[in-house]
Structures are given as C-alpha cells and as structure tokens.
C-alpha cells in the first residue's frame, strides 16, 4: 500500500513536469531539454530557501519563478539569436548544472527536520483528523504523511491542469496554440510568434521547476543529478496519455498527460519491485519512448502493405 501511494504521489508530482513538456513539445514541437536543468533548479531553489527557513509556499513559488527565467533564456537564445531549438535547450541545461551547484553550494541538500510543504500538509491533516495517528482507508493503514502528501499532489496537479486548460481557451492561449500550429498564419493576424515561444517556454519550465520543488520536498532532499533524463520521462507520460485518451481534445490531452505520468510511475514501481535493476531504468525509459514514437508509423505502414497485398491477390 505504501508503495502504491508513493508511486501515485510521485506520478502526480511529475505530472507537472509532463504538463510543462506538453507545452513545449506538443504546442511548439520544441524538444526542450532545458527541462532536465530546470527541474533540478526548482528543487535546488526550493531546498535552499527551506533550509534558510523561508515559508514553504514562498519557496515553492520562487522555484516556479526560477524555472520561468530558465525557460525565458532558452526562448530568447532560440528566437533572438536564431540558435537551433535543441541546441538552445542544451546550452541552458548545461549552464544550469553549474548554476544549480552554486545555488545549493554542494551537490546535495537534505531537508530533514525542515518545514516543508510535506510537513505543512501533515500538520493540516493532523488538525483535520484530530490526531497524527495512521489513517485507515478501506482497511489499509496509511501514514498521515503519505496520505496528506498524496492529497496535496493531487490538488496541485488538478489545479495546474485546470489552469492550463483555461489558459488555452483564452485569447492569449489560442494565439499561443496557433503560433505553434501555423506561425505564418498567426503572424499575419498580428501576433509576435517569437514572444509567444518565449512565453510558452517560460510557463513550461516554470511548471517543470514547480514539479522539482515538490519532488524535493516529498523525497526530503535536492540533488544536482536528479534532473538527468527527465525530459524523456515527460515525453513518456505524454505518449502514454495520448494512447489512453487520444489527441483530439485539449481537455482530454491534459488529463491524459497527468494519467500517463501516474501510470508510468506505477509501471516503474512494479518493474523495480519485480527485480528491474534501477541502473537500467533510464535505458528502459528511452527504449520505451523510442518504440512509442516509432510504433504508430510502423503499424500504418504494415497495415497498408498488408491491404495492398490483399488487393493484389
């Protein structure tokens, strides 16, 4: 049960990462590898502020803000200096590695005995239920900390998902979608496409950093290595989500990204429990994303070939 709740919580926290990657990858077709750096940036900023006794909500908000700055940088490098999308992301990601070390002052910042959103949530839970004892949910014992953290992650993911949905229904949001879909058209309708890309990447990396900040508070430390391969994780979540709910409607895609992240985390937890060597995790994730990206095209080709053969006979 603890394993399940843990996987759900991490999946929901990382769904913010998936939503961020959704904006860069699906709206702008921008494989923004800045995410690998900005998730750590979010964790680092939040952790250092928490160690200095800053209120958890403010520390988390600051992490989001730091992420938007990183995304803005990538956007400006790409749009104003004409550097290729992938390379812009790589430059900022590399720069962020040093930045993160500077922010943290060392490679790992533990949050033991610090006031974090996790402890705040635990207090709120205790106040609500009148005790800090374990809760009994459908006959299972659940630690108060785990339960409240799950609720916190769920609320955050739902709120952020709803905000993104509403945003893409506004004038600014539809213009941003169009800027990714057909830049020529929206430029002719008076939108500065470059600014839209910068804004989109800022929001995207802000969400990724927010995800990092929550993850650090949940697991109790920030580590300079924690961002490696996270973009692929986000992509995997989106692809699973699209397989679950399709790619037609924005609301469904957003829900799908959250579901995909949770499902993927559950699969990983099960695989690790079943004996998967943790060292192989990134390899398996990369292979999975590769297969998921290639498979749809391969299936259409095979079926059309089979149909042609059938017609020939």
């Amino acid at each position: 049960m603890t394993l399940l709740i843990g996987a759900l919580t991490v999946g929901l926290i990382l769904s913010l990462l998936a939503l961020g990657v959704f904006i860069s990858f699906r709206i702008f077709e921008f494989s923004d590898i800045t995410a690998d750096g900005s998730i750590t940036l979010g964790a680092a900023v939040a952790a250092v502020l928490l160690v200095h006794g800053v209120h958890p909500v403010i520390a988390t908000a600051a992490a989001f803000f730091a992420g938007t700055v990183a995304g803005t940088l990538t956007g400006i490098i790409h749009t104003r200096f004409g550097i290729n999308k992938l390379l812009s992301g790589i430059l900022v990601m590399t720069a962020l590695y040093s930045t993160n070390l500077h922010v943290m002052g060392r490679s790992n910042v533990p949050l033991l005995d610090r006031r974090t959103l996790a402890t705040q949530a635990e207090h709120a839970g205790a106040w609500l239920f009148g005790s800090t004892a374990d809760l009994r949910v459908w006959g299972w014992d659940v630690a108060m900390r785990d339960a409240t953290m799950l609720v916190l992650a769920l609320t955050t993911a739902a709120t952020v998902g709803l905000l993104i949905y509403v945003f893409f229904r506004t004038n600014l949001g539809t213009a941003m979608q169009a800027a990714g879909d057909n830049p020529q058209m929206i430029r002719a309708l008076g939108v500065n496409v470059e600014n839209m890309i910068v804004l989109g990447l800022a929001v995207s990396n802000g969400l990724v950093a927010l995800s990092g900040a929550l993850l650090a508070q949940y697991q109790g430390f920030a580590d300079v290595q924690m961002g490696i391969g996270m973009i692929v994780w986000g992509l995997a979540s989106i692809i699973i989500g699209e397989a679950l709910v399709g790619v037609r409607q924005l609301g469904l895609i957003i829900t799908g990204a959250v579901m995909g992240s949770v499902l993927f985390r559950l699969l990983v937890a099960i695989a690790l429990r079943g004996g998967l060597n943790p060292n192989d995790l990134k390899l398996v994730t990369a292979v999975f994303v590769f297969v998921a990206l290639v498979l749809p095209g391969l299936v259409t080709r095979l079926t059309s070939r089979r149909r042609r053969q059938a017609e020939a006979q």
């Binding site: 539809t174 879909d181 002719a188 309708l189 008076g190």
Partner: protein
C-alpha cells in the same frame, strides 16, 4: 491611401545567388481600388505583396499606408492594417484548431490578446452568420478541426478571416492557383463580393488572364522587379485575355532579342 515609393529589395546580396527582386517599384493606390497584378515568373509580383505585408523589410524606398509610414514595421505589427490570403491554401489557417477558434483568432487581428475567454457563447451566432456567407455549409461544422477540410474550403475561410475586420489593405497572392477550377471560381466570386461590399483597397496577384481581365478596376503588369504597364479606367475595362497574352509575348520577344543580341556581340568581339 497606399503609396509605394521606389522600393528596392535584393535577396542574397553579393553572393552568386543574388536576386534583384524589386528594382524601384512606384505605385500609388486610391482608397477602394481593386488592383490586379500580373507578370512573368520571377517578375516580383509576390515579392511586392510580401514587401507590403512585411515578410521582409525593403532595402530602399518607403511604404506609406493610410498616412502612416510602415516601411520599418515588422510583419505582425502591419497585420493591424493588412489582411492576407496566401497562395498555399494550408498557410492561412491553423490545422489542429477548430474553424471557430481560427475565426476568433482572426476577429482580433492586430489587437492585443489578453486572458479574456476566446470563444464566448454570444459570438457563435455571429460566426455562423458570416461562415454561411461562404455558401459551403461550413456553418454546421464550426467545431471541426481545420485539418479535416479541403484546400478550397480552407482558402475560403482564410479569405473570410483576412476580411473579418475590415482591413485597410487586402493582399491576395495567387490565392486560387492551387485550387480545382470549380473551387477557384467560387473563391474568386467570394473575393469579388467581399471586396466590392466592403470597398476594400486590394492587390491581387494572378496568373489567370481571365481573372485579370474580368476583375478589378486597375491592372499592373510587372517585369524584372518593376511596373511595366499600368492600365486603369476605360482602358482596363477594354482589356481582353488576348490583349494581355500579346503583352506577355512582346515581353518574351524583347527578352529573346536581348539574349540573342548579347550572344551576337559575344561571338563578334570576345
């Protein structure tokens, strides 16, 4: 209204691929004039339209629209004054978004876009009314994605979008060249209806001599990045496709003469 003063543009200057696309174009348009632009391939017709739309900034000369010097304005800023329909039917609409969303984007052409709800319930009836003017039955498919429509349907929608807010200048860049004949006719009829109804100042590039002689109240023929002929008034109305073809033929012969004369001189003296 629109004053184009000796604009020049050279692409890839000082390289082997140098193209002197516009070589001093002068043109003045009165409000409400419908100008048809014809010319040989590479004569600079589309380049002229792109110069007006701001796809690039001209090297020399100035463009004054409605009393405002827009020579240095970037493309997205000019959009507040200029409506455009592209040659490629897929260029003017966002395929992954719905018809309604595309139209609502066009309804704010050149205006600030904030966090207001894009598709308010009360605009749907207005969308239906105006889409039904296209006579394509699209008013019942407002929530379909643009990507599911044919090129002709998309081009008709682009025309509607470009003229949704009355543009100070409307640019039609061979907008029926890629459509099947029936749909091309329909889109041309729609264009004429909209232009005459709203009295739009319009520049339309075309390769169809039929369209060139039937439409508009002024016709210019471009050659080598400059205006070669300029017909208006009764002279324009008298022009028939055959007359235009004759003009093209004489241009072609002049070209040949240049070439053969150069060849002769080369043989004789080099």
């Amino acid at each position: 209204m629109l004053a184009i003063n000796t604009i020049r543009k050279t692409f890839n200057p000082d390289t082997p691929n140098q193209v002197r696309a516009l070589q001093g174009v002068n043109l003045t348009l009165h409000e409400g004039t419908f100008v048809v632009v014809i010319g040989t391939n590479g004569s600079g017709k589309s380049t002229l339209l792109n110069a007006l739309a701001g796809t690039f900034i001209v090297d020399e000369g100035s463009i004054v629209l409605d009393g405002t010097d827009i020579t240095r304005w970037p493309e997205h800023r000019r959009a507040s004054l200029v409506g455009r329909v592209f040659q490629n039917p897929f260029s003017g609409t966002a395929p992954r978004m719905t018809i309604a969303e595309n139209l609502v984007l066009a309804a704010r052409r050149g205006q600030a876009r904030g966090l207001g709800w894009a598709l308010k319930a009360n605009v749907r009836q207005q969308l239906r009314d105006r889409v039904s003017q296209l006579r394509l039955g699209l008013e019942d498919r407002l929530d379909n994605s643009i990507g599911s429509l044919s090129g002709g349907q998309r081009q008709a929608l682009t025309l509607l979008m470009a003229s949704w807010l009355r543009p100070t200048l409307l640019l039609l860049d061979e907008h029926t060249a890629a459509l099947d004949p029936r749909m091309a006719d329909h889109v041309i009829n729609l264009s004429e209806e909209i232009v005459s109804r709203d009295k739009l100042t319009t520049l339309m590039v075309t390769h169809s001599m039929q369209q060139a002689s039937n439409l508009g109240d002024r016709l210019i023929m471009m050659h080598r990045g400059a205006v070669l002929h300029d017909f208006s008034g009764a002279e324009k109305q008298r022009l028939r496709p055959a007359d235009l073809l004759a003009r093209f033929e004489s241009v072609r012969r002049a070209e040949l003469l240049d070439e053969s004369a150069a060849q002769m001189l080369r043989c004789a003296y080099v």
